[in-house]
Structure formats: structure tokens, C-alpha cells
């Protein structure tokens, strides 16, 4: 930290002008607010507290685009209860629960939002749900999957659009056993999320007569999977299941393909995202996965129009499951208010019990409805295979083989562990 203020820079620019340029570049960032939309006086406010930076930034931005489209449509149809809708957006970061809670508090206390939407990260979603429950604000979680949110930690005011991990593993397990065989080998990242995935998958497979030949817990951040892959190969299963996410998934799948395992066995996993497949090298786009929504659904009314609208907003990119989560979440808020003819959170939450999303918003063959007593959306799940490259569209990287009805994989209400208490 020594100071030698008069030393000129080595390319002839002195430090002062360099800093001026840097500061100017910084000011431009603040001076061009692209996150917050204009604020009007008597509006209904939806507060979106979701990651825009960090690991989940790409997912968060897609949810944002979906929510923005929904708000535009709601306003075009006359808003909520005759008032225009305003979307307030805050960056929750991808992992800092303190920041997410701070932003949720800011939206509720200062901006007085009528609805809170978020978060992709399960931990942050639960922390926000706590804030929302305390303030009695209607909270819609677009994309945090941990079962507890609509299970043992469920709240009357907290609704979830994306599936639980248990629903995803049950959906894929049934398809795998039907198509590829009953003997599974598991490669599971060694932390809570991975453990949950494996135990729910084992349970769903066992119910259908599947068996576990072996399982390895791989530490988070593992780069070399060769040892695990050799063991898996030696066990000679029908299917090797990968629960890795992010970079771990990239490494594990790339190495499995290098070993030629995709030719000998079937490779599969649970939840997969289009954002992840797009980021994978083409040769690693293999295996059977479950998507929570897919844009290429020929014959389903409204989907093509939705894809066109999103393409216009996103610079030509197709909507992903995340885009749909954001879209469905914002529409859920509007529909709850219209159904209750009021912005009273309890009345709106009552309306959403068993509420089916209209087909132009559900955008899937069998529709989607919030299960009463749990506040969990029960949609269709799309099981299929990753494709190396798209046929007609470079972003068509998934071939849906089976659409699984959510009701068949969601288990009973008792099994979720949700015991809801309503304010009196």
C-alpha cells in the first residue's frame, strides 16, 4: 500500500487519466438503470428478488425475462383489479442469504410490494419464505427445488411453481426402468441436495422393481471422475445415474463419454436445464433427463406464440424452463388477485388452493394446478434425451420421449409432510 502518486503508467497514460476513464465507465453503469422499470403512483407491485449475479445469473435472467413478459401481458389486459402492475427487481446474489433477506425486507417494508417472487437458490428461497411468512405477504417461488419448501416448512402464503426433487426423480426413474432396465449405479455429489436426489430416486426405482448396484459419493468440485467411472463400469449396470450439477456435471459427463460409457450403458440423471446443455460441449450432451418445461411442444396450443414473444425479448433465444417459471409466477400473482377480487393475501392464498393455471399460461399438454394444502404446482414433467445438436434450431437440444403427469409422481399430501396453519 505504498503511494507513489506521480509515477506515470508504462504506456504513457498517467494514473489519473486512467482512473478518470475507469470512474467514467463506472458512472455509465449506474446512470443506465436497466433493472428497475419506471415507477408509477397507484400500481400493484410485484417484487422479484432473484439472482442476477453469480452462479445462477443466467437462470435468474431468464426468469426475469419471463416475468417481464407476463407483466406486459397483464398490463395490456388492464392490469390487476384495474391497476397497472409494476415489477420491482432486486439482485439477491446467488448464494448470500443475508442479501436475499435484506432485499426481501426492502421490497416489503419500503416498496410495499403486494407480491414477493423468488428464489432460484433453495436456501435463499427458504430464507425469503420466512420473511414473507412473518409479514404475511403472498410469496411465489419460481425455481428453488428443495422438498421442504412445500413439505415440512410449508407456509400458507408460500407457493411454488417449479417441481420438488422427489417429483423429478420419480418421473425419470419410471421412464428409465421402462426403456433401459432395472439396475442402476449412482454417482452422487456429496452434499444434502445430492443425497436427497439419490434417496428419492432409490425409493421411486425400488417401488417399480429397480435395484441399486452401487453408489459413489463424489466430493463437490471433483475434476477427475475416472476412478468412479471405472467402478461403475465394473458393476455392469443398465443405467449410470449422474446427480452432479454445474462444472461437476460437465466434467463427469465429458469423462464418461471419453471412456465410451455412453455406448455400453445408458447415462441418465434427474433435473436438467437447457441453459446447462447449451453450455456443455456437444459430445457431452448425452443421457436421459427430466426437463420441467420445454419450448418445442408441437401441437400444444399457445406454446409457439409464447416462444415467439420471448424470442423478441431475448435477442432471438428460445424460452427455457426458467423463462416459463418467471412467466407462470408473475401470472399466478395476477390470477390470485383477480380470483379473490382483492389484494388481501389470505383471500388470494385461499383462491390458489387447487387453482388450475389457464392453458395459455400452463403451456403444457395436461395443464398445471396448485395442490391444495401444499401450495405446490403440479405440472407435466418432460422426460427425454439430450441431443448433440439441434435439428431445425441450434437450441433444440432435448428430445422429449415421455410427458409424465405430475399427479402420478407427486406422492400423497401426507408424504410431503406439509401441515399448513392459516392465520386466524
Amino acid at each position: 500500500m505504498t503511494r507513489n502518486a506521480k509515477t506515470p503508467g508504462f504506456v504513457g497514460i498517467d494514473r489519473r487519466s486512467l482512473l478518470k476513464v475507469a470512474a467514467a465507465a463506472g458512472v455509465v453503469q449506474v446512470a443506465s438503470p436497466f433493472v428497475r422499470t419506471a415507477r408509477a403512483a397507484d400500481t400493484v407491485k410485484i417484487g422479484l428478488d432473484n439472482p442476477l449475479t453469480g452462479t445462477y445469473a443466467a437462470l435468474g435472467k431468464n426468469e426475469l425475462i419471463g416475468a417481464q413478459l407476463a407483466v406486459e401481458e397483464i398490463n395490456a389486459k388492464g392490469g390487476i383489479l384495474g391497476r397497472q402492475v409494476e415489477l420491482l427487481v432486486e439482485d439477491s446474489t446467488s448464494g448470500d442469504a443475508g442479501a436475499a433477506v435484506q432485499k426481501a425486507t426492502k421490497l416489503i417494508e419500503r416498496d410495499q410490494v403486494n407480491f414477493l417472487v423468488g428464489n432460484i437458490n433453495s436456501a435463499l428461497a427458504q430464507a425469503m419464505a420466512q420473511v414473507a411468512a412473518q409479514h404475511g405477504v403472498l410469496h411465489v417461488i419460481p425455481g428453488g427445488h428443495t422438498d421442504a419448501i412445500t413439505g415440512e416448512n410449508c407456509h400458507w402464503n408460500v407457493f411454488r411453481v417449479c417441481n420438488t426433487t422427489a417429483m423429478e426423480t420419480s418421473a425419470v426413474a419410471g421412464s428409465l426402468i421402462k426403456a433401459y432396465g432395472k439396475k442402476f449405479y449412482y454417482l452422487t455429489p456429496d452434499y444434502a441436495f445430492g443425497h436427497t436426489l439419490q434417496s428419492t430416486m432409490e425409493k421411486s426405482a425400488a417401488a417399480l422393481g429397480g435395484s441399486k448396484l452401487g453408489a459413489d459419493l463424489t466430493p463437490l468440485g471433483t475434476t477427475d471422475y475416472s476412478g468412479y467411472l471405472i467402478k461403475a463400469q465394473a458393476a455392469n449396470p443398465d443405467v449410470i445415474i449422474f446427480f452432479q450439477a454445474g462444472n461437476d456435471a460437465v466434467n463427469a459427463l465429458k469423462q464418461a463419454v471419453q471412456f465410451g460409457l455412453h455406448k455400453k450403458f445408458h447415462l441418465a440423471g434427474a433435473q436438467q436445464e437447457l441453459e446447462v446443455l447449451l453450455g456443455l460441449p456437444p459430445e457431452a450432451r448425452v443421457g436421459t433427463w427430466v426437463f420441467e418445461w420445454y419450448w418445442n411442444q408441437p401441437g400444444v396450443a399457445g406454446v409457439a406464440e409464447f416462444v415467439d414473444k420471448i424470442r423478441r425479448k431475448s435477442g432471438g433465444h428460445v424460452p427455457t424452463a426458467r423463462t416459463w417459471f418467471g412467466y407462470a409466477s408473475a401470472w399466478t400473482c395476477a390470477l390470485a388477485a383477480e380470483g379473490a377480487k382483492s389484494l388481501d393475501p389470505v383471500k388470494m392464498a385461499k383462491v390458489l388452493q387447487g387453482f388450475a393455471l389457464p392453458p395459455e399460461i400452463a403451456l403444457m399438454p395436461n395443464g398445471a394446478a396448485f395442490r391444495a394444502g401444499q401450495n405446490q404446482l403440479i405440472p407435466d414433467l418432460f422426460v427425454g434425451n439430450a441431443a448433440e445438436k439441434g435439428e431445425k434450431d441450434p437450441e433444440d437440444l432435448f428430445r422429449v420421449t415421455e410427458v409424465v403427469k405430475g399427479a402420478n409422481v407427486a406422492g400423497t399430501l401426507e408424504e410431503t409432510g406439509c401441515k399448513m396453519t392459516w392465520p386466524t
Partner: protein, 317 residues
């Protein structure tokens, strides 16, 4: 507190306390009360770190571990032991301080970057314990299903549901903690810490038991970090492993350096700048982290003694 002017000596402190005490009255114009609580809590953590960094001259990069232990101590108490906020704060502080006392002897003989590295390593141990022990801590999903409870004083019950009531609890804890810290720093013990910071070898020759003093300073510093951690858990009604992560330690160091490591109140100013900047900028642009980084770089380049250090120098000149 460590100012050497005579008339102006208490003025900044008095103004500072007036600002803090009146905060709920004016903050709603620009922000919201919980933001004030957050500034004060993280300020306390940064001041605790600065007890070691600025006043003893030892850089720890693992203070989040004790901050997080305080948070988990408080959260687990409310979740499993008893619905008592007071007990939660005490347990949180106790757990963090105890861990620091035990780990201290293993690291106090190291200096400089080695000390910093080992503090990170011990910090990450706690991070991974919290991350992996999901049956107790909830793992990556965080510890949920608890919230701060009303404090029963016997003659009255304080309901902490309202942000303003909680802010005053935070401010009360902050006042007690900083009073103890100031008292310690002004004592012969505190002076010996400054001596170690200025010239360790000379301090040793003068007969100061350097390693013992560093251990004490480390324990005190981590103890106050755990107090802050316990309050942080109560603020969020939630704890997750991220509070134990080394990147959180990094944030404390940044706050201390921003505000001024050589001054007593500097880290509080640093925390205020950091938290308010983050809150304001991240609502406007998703590139807010580069701007916070830019401010940090500018402060280090132009005011290496931090914001308060610079102000102090101006008034003396």
C-alpha cells in the same frame, strides 16, 4: 476514542451516537430500518476484526468462521433448545469464543500471510461441517423453522417483531460491545497490543508475552465477531453455511480497510459504505460488484488509511 485533540475529542463520537440512536426516525426517507440493523451488525463484526487487524497488527482471513458459529449457535439454540433470544445470543457468543480460544494456540505462533492462510483453513473446516451435517444444520438449505422471540425482562416484555425494536436491541448490544472494546484498548493490555503492532521484536524485548497477548486479542476479537454473528442470525431469522465462508471474512477485511484500520470507528464507517453501496447499486445494475470493487481500489490507492484515516489526517493538518 483514540483521538488526541482535546476539544474535538468527543465531538465525533457524540455526533456518531446521535446519528445511530435517531436512525429509525430518518432512515425511512432513504432506506428501511433493517438496513440500519445490518450496518450496525456488520460494523460490529468489522470492528471486532479490526481489534486484531488494526490494533494488534495481525491479519485474520477466517473471522467469518466465528461470526458464523455465533449465528449457528443462536439459530440452533432457538431451534432446538429454548425459545429465548437472550440465551441464543449468549450461546452464540460462547460457542464462537470457545472455538477461538481452542484454535488460538494452534495459530498464534504464525505471522503474516501464514497466519492468514491458517485462519482461512480453520474457517473452511467449520464451513464444511455446517455444509455437510445436514441433519443438524439443514446443510446447504440453511437452518429454518425458528425466529427471534420476545425478550422477557421480568417487569416487561419486548416484542422484537418490529424492525425498530430489533434495531434498538442491536444498538444496545453494539454499545456494550464497543464500550468493552474501547476499555480494553485503553488499558495497559490494549497498549501492549499497539506495541506488538508497531514493533513485535521490541515488544518482546520489553518483556511483553507476545504470543499470549496475540492469543488474548484473537479470542476477544473472535468473541465480538460471534456476538455480531448471533445478532445477524436474529436479523435474518435464518442461517446458512455461507455466513462461515471465507468470502464473508474477505468482506469484513474490506470493510475494515475501507473505513480505516487505524481508527476505532473506521470499520463501522466501512461497513456502512459497503452495505449501503451494495444495497443502492445492486438495485440499479447487475454489475454492482465491479463498482463496489472500484470504490475499494480507489480508497486503497488514494486513502490507504481508509475514509476515517483520511478525515483524521485532514483535521490534524
Amino acid at each position: 476514542m483514540l483521538n488526541n485533540g482535546s476539544l474535538t475529542r468527543y465531538a465525533p463520537s457524540v455526533i456518531g451516537w446521535i446519528v445511530l440512536v435517531s436512525l429509525p426516525e430518518w432512515i425511512n426517507v432513504v432506506a428501511y430500518t433493517d438496513l440500519g440493523s445490518r450496518v450496525v451488525i456488520l460494523g460490529l463484526a468489522a470492528m471486532a476484526l479490526n481489534f486484531l487487524l488494526g490494533h494488534t497488527g495481525v491479519l485474520s482471513f477466517g473471522h467469518a468462521a466465528y461470526f458464523g458459529l455465533g449465528a449457528y449457535g443462536a439459530g440452533l439454540t432457538l431451534r432446538y433448545l429454548a425459545p429465548s433470544t437472550g440465551l441464543a445470543i449468549l450461546v452464540g457468543t460462547g460457542v464462537g469464543m470457545m472455538a477461538a480460544m481452542l484454535i488460538g494456540p494452534l495459530i498464534i505462533r504464525l505471522r503474516g500471510v501464514y497466519f492468514a492462510m491458517v485462519t482461512i483453513a480453520f474457517g473452511q473446516i467449520f464451513y464444511f461441517i455446517a455444509f455437510r451435517w445436514s441433519t443438524l444444520t439443514g446443510g446447504d438449505d440453511g437452518l429454518t423453522n425458528w425466529s427471534r422471540q420476545p425478550i422477557n425482562l421480568g417487569f416487561a416484555t419486548i416484542d422484537l417483531k418490529s424492525p425498530v425494536a430489533f434495531y434498538y436491541l442491536v444498538l444496545f448490544v453494539f454499545a456494550v460491545a464497543t464500550a468493552i472494546m474501547a476499555k480494553l484498548l485503553n488499558s495497559p493490555f490494549g497498549r501492549s497490543l499497539l506495541a506488538i503492532r508497531e514493533n513485535e521484536r521490541r515488544a518482546l524485548f520489553l518483556g511483553i508475552p507476545v504470543n499470549l497477548r496475540i492469543w488474548l486479542s484473537w479470542t476477544v476479537s473472535c468473541g465480538f465477531a460471534s456476538v455480531a454473528g448471533a445478532m445477524y442470525a436474529l436479523l435474518n431469522n435464518f442461517v446458512d453455511p455461507r455466513t462461515l465462508h471465507w468470502s464473508q471474512s474477505g468482506a469484513f477485511v474490506i470493510m475494515a480497510v475501507l473505513g480505516g484500520m487505524r481508527s476505532f470507528w473506521g470499520p463501522l464507517i466501512g461497513a456502512a459504505i459497503y452495505v449501503v453501496l451494495q444495497d443502492y447499486l445492486s438495485s440499479r445494475t447487475s454489475n454492482w460488484m465491479s463498482l463496489v470493487g472500484l470504490v475499494f481500489v480507489l480508497v486503497v490507492l488514494f486513502f490507504p488509511r481508509g475514509v476515517l484515516g483520511m478525515l483524521g489526517r485532514r483535521t490534524q493538518a
